[in-house]
């Protein structure tokens, strides 16, 4: 039979059995994960261990200080600037997240309609998120400049103020200014992510609810929002962590000032660890973020799991 002849022919052409190690899923997985494991091990796990050790000793730049136990943590705990920084970080994270969520959701709902030029609007709206934060923050710093502020000019022309506002010179106003810029930068991320979530919700559900007689607000509250909740939770998780550990925005806007009033964990750690050269103390300050971050991640992950499985 012809078919049999060809079959024999095939076997002759087959390549010699090579080493089949990579046919074993376990070895293949090991090989594929190796580069990632090396890089993450070297530049995440190792620094983490090193950071813990550093925070337990008294090193300065170029000077090894020996083991001092929890002295650094004790010191920062009694440091009023550090306490202010902790408070600032929570205030900053909390306020911006609420606003970003509210405004982002609103914008997402607006963008979820059909209108001309929607693709362009959507693309343009993401710009604050794309453009390097440091660079766009400089634009804001310039807009907040006490002498040349276009914001002051606008508020004055609108009749809302009579004198100048020293945005970055007053501790409370400086924090508010920073919060405004963070919200400005974060809203696009919320809006686009939530928009993607909204687009997975079938319009038929809205229509069914409308036919059932639900008013727009009720439709949102009983149909859209519950379905959007899982996405929202993940977006909030990412945003909270990024905001909590923020550095560049404050570094550019105020550098932690005026009078150390606007420090966050990260900027204070930078000032102490790199600026002053007290490596160990700086490491202790940034590591102090870790328990909070861990707590945030655990709480959110548990909550996300609950939302997703119910």
């Amino acid at each position: 039979m012809a078919t049999i002849a060809i079959a024999v022919d095939d076997r002759q052409k087959r390549p010699r059995p090579r080493t089949r190690v990579l046919e074993d899923e376990r070895w293949l997985a090991f090989a594929l994960l190796l580069p990632t494991a090396v890089l993450l091990g070297l530049f995440i796990a190792y620094p983490f261990v090193k950071g813990v050790l550093l925070s337990l000793s008294a090193d300065r730049v170029g000077v090894s200080g020996g083991f001092v136990g929890l002295a650094n943590f004790d010191k920062i705990w009694n440091d009023s600037i550090f306490r202010t920084a902790v408070w600032n970080t929570f205030w900053y994270t909390g306020v911006t997240t609420v606003f970003k969520l509210f405004l982002g959701l609103w914008l997402a709902l607006l963008l979820n309609r059909h209108f001309k030029g929607k693709a362009y609007i959507r693309a343009a709206i993401l710009l604050p998120f794309i453009i390097p934060t440091v660079l766009s923050t400089f634009a804001w710093k310039w807009m907040f400049d006490p002498t040349f502020s276009v914001i002051n000019w606008a508020l004055f022309k609108l009749g809302l103020i009579t004198g100048r506002i020293n945005w970055l010179g007053d501790p409370d106003l400086a924090m508010t200014s920073i919060i405004i810029v963070n919200i400005w930068r974060g809203v696009p991320f919320f809006a686009i992510s939530l928009l993607a979530g909204l687009q997975t919700i079938s319009p038929e559900l809205q229509e069914a609810a409308a036919i059932d007689g639900a008013k727009p607000w009720k439709r949102f509250w009983y149909v859209t929002w519950p379905l959007l909740l899982p996405v929202t939770m993940v977006v909030v998780l990412f945003s909270v962590i990024q905001t909590f550990a923020d550095f560049q925005l404050v570094y550019v806007m105020t550098g932690g000032g005026p009078a150390n009033a606007t420090h966050l964990f990260a900027t204070y750690a930078y000032q102490i660890g790199i600026g002053t050269g007290l490596l160990s103390e700086g490491a202790a300050i940034s590591l102090a973020m870790f328990p909070f971050l861990l707590l945030i991640v655990i709480v959110q992950l548990l909550y996300i799991r609950r939302v997703e499985t119910r």
């Binding site: 078919t3 060809i6 079959a7 095939d10 052409k13 087959r14 390549p15 089949r20």
Partner: protein
């Protein structure tokens, strides 16, 4: 040449024992069909033959070689998947050539074989297209073409027709049959559709819960089902079942139902005698029931009330109630039965099936 032998094959997923002690001998050039409801282990068995699933215990031999440890690439088999699994980024030609390229065939030989397969399947004009530009039937042909260019030892089919619409499915079924007659390659074909199994298979394996229920030629399964499951699974509409008791009176065995009493012919009486005085399950296919006429003996029929009539054109399906038992009878299209009619049905005495109530095995 290319026979497939399966010995004491077992597959355990974490908790589930999916395939239990399967033993099969698929002969060279045979078209073997695995059929059963979903989750019966037929696909898992096929995937173990393909090398896509590891074997928990037992052996698979292709061409007298144990292939348990051989990766799929070295088994010299071809497989057609339910969703066709065409490589979306490659043209039809490249899809068909891929297996040959992987095996380092000469360019000219690849072109020749692809052309040959394309001619057989009549897809020569599609070779430059991408899979997304093809209709369902065309994709199916390309998937087949990809398998046949390889001239493999064994073809494996995993429900290849179930994504097609009903009409195309019948057409492709015929083509598959022709293709097999022409190429003569050993084939294992998995389906949940008993019609496909009956029409395509040289032999059919019926599986349920990981256990082989019966292996045999299609008509063998139809005429002599090994147990109640096979009897009910093969044939459409499905076989009617009724629990009856067997009684022995005056040296004859009687089948006594709740509302009827029939006397099976001598041929089956011998087998039934051992079960006298016990309950058994009587099975009768709808096509072995007909409306009785005056000449039918009284003890081979029963009275029934028509509940639903289904006009199929070539026949009428009568859903009837005989006492507490519901039955379906397939009768001549000329029978003027209406819902609510009371009529007498006669059964074909040579085609009665009996099953043990406990083991469900045929008696």
């Amino acid at each position: 040449m290319a026979q497939v032998v399966i010995r004491d094959l077992n597959k355990k997923f974490d908790e589930v024992h999916a395939v239990k002690n399967v033993n099969l001998h698929i002969k060279d050039k045979e078209f073997m069909v695995f059929v059963g409801p979903s989750g019966c282990g037929k696909t898992t068995t096929l995937r173990m033959v393909a090398g896509l699933e590891s074997i928990t215990s037992g052996e698979v031999l292709i061409n007298d070689t144990v292939v348990n440890e051989l990766p799929p690439m070295d088994r010299d088999i071809a497989m057609v998947f339910q969703n066709y699994a065409l490589y979306p980024h490659m043209s039809v030609y490249d899809n068909m050539a891929f297996g040959l390229k992987m095996r380092k065939f000469e360019r000219a030989e690849i072109a020749k074989r692809v052309q040959e397969a394309a001619d057989i399947l009549d897809i020569g004009q599609l070779l430059k297209r991408k899979p997304r530009q093809l209709s369902g039937g065309q994709r199916q042909r390309v998937a087949l073409g990809r398998a046949i260019v390889r001239h493999p030892q064994v073809f494996l089919f995993d429900e290849p027709l179930s994504n097609l619409d009903a009409k195309l499915r019948v057409q492709m079924r015929v083509e598959l049959k022709k293709l097999h007659n022409r190429l003569g390659t050993t084939a294992i074909y998995v389906t949940h559709d008993q019609v496909e199994a009956m029409t395509l298979g040289d032999r059919v394996v019926v599986m349920k819960d990981g256990v082989v229920q019966q292996v045999g030629a299609p008509l063998e399964l139809y005429n002599q089902p090994a147990n109640r499951f096979v009897a009910g699974f093969i044939g459409s509409p499905a076989m009617n079942f009724a629990t009856v008791s067997l009684a022995e009176h005056d040296g004859a065995v009687w089948v006594e139902g709740p509302d009827f009493r029939i006397r099976p012919p001598q041929s089956s009486a011998g087998r039934l005698r051992g079960h006298a005085g016990r309950q058994v399950v009587l099975g009768i296919r709808p096509e072995d029931l007909r409306v009785a006429n005056g000449s039918d003996p009284a003890d081979l029929g029963f009275d029934a009330v028509v509940e639903v009539t289904e006009q199929l054109g070539s026949e009428i399906l009568l859903d009837v109630k005989a006492g507490p038992a519901s039955m379906v009878a397939s009768v001549e299209p000329t029978v003027p039965a209406k819902v609510g009619d009371r009529l007498r049905l006669a059964l074909n005495p040579d085609r009665l099936h009996f099953f043990d109530t406990q083991t469900e095995a045929a008696i």
